[in-house]
């Protein structure tokens, strides 16, 4: 009888969520972010090798419009802050402010992507697409990879806004929001590398 009860108890314990689940998932996600950083390191290394191979095409100095990049950077910095404010509201369990802040973050991120697509479009239409030179291949790969990550982040954010509306701020939803915010801040850090090495170093 006692043994049976103990078995049922331990089965129940196994089903119950581990108290550190969110912490373990956050560490696992952090490890993923680090592996993504290694991917970016490889692309940065490729860019650094090819950055001078213009093949008679335009150089970064001729192509880059720095004020435009400043606006892109500000969009991302503002979005990182609004994402942080969203997380503060999430810790307090207040749903509406969370929805508003993540909505703002989403729009800022969308603005960034639109500006980037517009920049790529302008370059490609002018005949300076990725096929023009080694430098441009590396440029589109590096900046495009960051942009693809931002797009994935936006998709994730849209899903989370949907989950919050449907389920409310349940512990699993908050745990996912926390990882989303880690992802978003991480993309901002990668962008610091991109604007420094590609846009600024390319314009000096």
């Amino acid at each position: 009888m006692n043994t049976e009860a103990a078995t049922i108890d331990s089965a129940y314990v196994r089903e119950a969520p581990h108290p550190d689940t969110a912490a373990i998932q956050a560490l696992g996600f952090w490890i993923y972010l680090m592996s993504d950083l290694v991917l970016f390191a490889a692309i940065f290394a490729t860019y650094a090798v090819l950055r001078g191979n213009y093949a008679g095409g335009p150089s970064g100095r001729e192509l880059f419009d720095l004020p435009y990049t400043v606006v892109e950077t500000m969009l991302l910095l503002f979005s990182s802050s609004s994402c942080g404010l969203g997380m503060l509201a999430a810790y307090r369990g207040r749903k509406n402010p969370v929805l508003i802040w993540f909505g703002v973050t989403f729009l800022l991120g969308l603005g960034f992507i639109f500006m980037e697509i517009n920049e790529f479009h302008t370059m490609i239409v002018a005949g300076n697409g990725p096929a023009r030179s080694g430098f441009l291949s590396a440029f589109f790969t590096l900046v495009g990879s960051h942009g693809a990550h931002v797009c994935a982040g936006l998709l994730w954010m849209a899903v989370m806004i949907g989950q919050m509306t449907a389920k409310g701020l349940t512990p699993p939803v908050r745990s996912r929001l926390m990882r989303l915010s880690m992802f978003w801040h991480f993309l901002d850090i990668v962008w610091v590398g991109v604007f420094t090495i590609v846009y600024l170093m390319g314009s000096i």
Binding site: D20, A22, A23, Q25, A26, L27, F29, W30, I31, M34, S35, L37, V38, A41, A42, F44, A45, T46, A48, V49, L66, P67, T69, V70, T73, M74, L77, F78, S80, S81, G84, L85, M87, L88, A90, Y91, R92, G93, K95, G168, L169, T170, P171, R174, S175, M178, R179, S181, M182, H185, F186, D188, I189, V192, G193, F195, T196, L200, M201, I204
Partner: protein
């Protein structure tokens, strides 16, 4: 109905309004310093490169500290260790690539 449970303090550590505002102001300032240095063009090229790289390194640290709330406490040990390990890998990747490729380039000149 919303349940309010204490959320754990790991992962993207719990920030405060102050930490996000500090991070935001510092990162905007550092970005503007970097862009300003290049856009005004008053500084010589090597000095401008040095300023821009220094600003970027500080800005990455600001983001890690104030946005991701990374610190030296024991709860963060594994995150920091993984970051340091990744830093070593990145150094080998980027440093090794540049070393080999530019050396090869010189020899083939």
């Amino acid at each position: 109905m919303e349940r309010i449970l204490p959320i754990d303090d790991s992962g993207a550590g719990q920030g405060s309004l102050r930490s996000y505002l500090t991070g935001f102001i510092l990162s905007v300032l550092l970005s503007l310093i970097a862009f300003g240095t290049v856009m005004t063009g008053r500084v010589s090229a090597p000095a401008a490169s040095a300023i821009v790289i220094f600003a970027a390194v500080v800005q990455v640290l600001v983001h890690l500290r104030f946005f991701l709330h990374l610190n030296a406490s024991s709860a963060w040990r594994w995150n920091v260790l993984a970051l340091i390990f990744t830093g070593v890998i990145m150094f080998l990747f980027v440093g090794g690539t540049l070393w080999i490729m530019f050396h090869l380039n010189q020899r083939l000149m």
